[in-house]
Subunit: 206 residues, 2 copies
């Protein structure tokens, strides 16, 4: 990879390979593909990125990505504003929206507490979350963070900071994935799914 | 994936997912990562692509990518101009250069003959290849195309069009990859490696 005959190409490859999960080889493939773009195609391609930088908002309420100051979900009068689902990332909103099982609103933390990566509470959108809980009529906070130690730490941090409020805190169910065989589930998941077993009568989807 | 809360983000995702081998999910991950760029980073990123479109040359001799009208390889006085290695793509030049086993020059076809994909001889850089063979002092043409039916067709097309010339045509060796176990090689490759067995005395790398 040290023998590219063009510094311009090399520069483009370097820029592309800075992106997460893109290696030098893939970056070269992509650069050569972009090289074949017509002037119009290149124009559209470049404009898409410039617009991403200049024209996008982060929702003032939930920090979701948006073309307007308040995102479409927070603006939607049919959504239940009394339930706030706390997620790590904008991608989690998309994943939850795709299930069509949730009609509340969201709060994007922008990460989770991870001392190993130098991410503390001050680096995340907690202040605006607790302000929402204090000032707005919220009944329930649903924690939908990753099922990792960092996720658990963050869940606990939120729970502790909400103790004084009268807001109900819930957490998404952990257990055996739908369609999975029990024998292939890891022990921790299977163990938790037994401890947190649900009364069959209360099961909402039978 | 039909629920992105921002049309601008959606547009960027669409542009990125037009690239080969990039799905919608990866495109979203990349777009969200680009979104975090500083103004300077975004400037460098966009400039790299604009420069790719505006400032790059394809070498007048071999069609390799270059920052100058004639590429560094064709300009290099230490390279043997009497040997031309025919490759499908610029990436193949990089792969061969990385071996440090070849000191001749190249000719990039820009593809191979593939009627199924609508690629005929007129779509590829054959004219300039045969002109080079006719007008310049070339002793040997090394065919280094993919070992597929399309590659074989293209090899044969070149060979047929060169019959009237006195230029020697060679083809890169096909056989068991270095370090591979025989039992895992496919039958065609193993069969060919037996048919095309080389006299041990003539083996250049023992």
């Amino acid at each position: 990879m040290n023998t590219l005959s063009s510094k311009i190409l090399q520069n483009a490859v370097n820029e592309i390979s800075r992106l997460p999960g893109i290696g030098k080889r893939t970056a070269l493939r992509l650069a050569l593909s972009i090289l074949k773009y017509s002037n119009d195609e290149m124009d559209d391609f470049v404009k898409a990125f410039v617009s991403l930088k200049n024209d996008i908002y982060f929702c003032k309420l939930c920090h979701n990505i948006s073309d307007t100051e308040i995102c479409p979900i927070c603006q939607d009068s049919r959504r239940d504003k009394s339930i706030v689902c706390v997620v790590q990332d904008i991608r989690d909103i998309i994943a939850i929206e795709n299930t069509r099982q949730y009609r509340g609103v969201y709060h994007v933390l922008g990460g989770i507490i991870s001392p190993m990566d130098g991410v503390g509470p001050d680096d995340l959108n907690f202040k605006s979350l607790f302000e929402r809980i204090q000032n707005m009529d919220i009944q329930e906070v649903v924690l939908a963070l990753p099922t990792t130690i960092e996720g658990d730490t963050t869940n606990y941090y939120i729970y502790k900071n909400m103790e004084s409020s009268n807001v109900h805190v819930s957490i998404i169910a952990r257990g055996i994935a739908v369609g999975d065989e029990l024998e292939y589930a890891d022990e921790v998941t299977l163990g938790r799914s037994l401890i947190n077993r649900v009364d069959f009568e209360q099961l909402s989807v039978k």
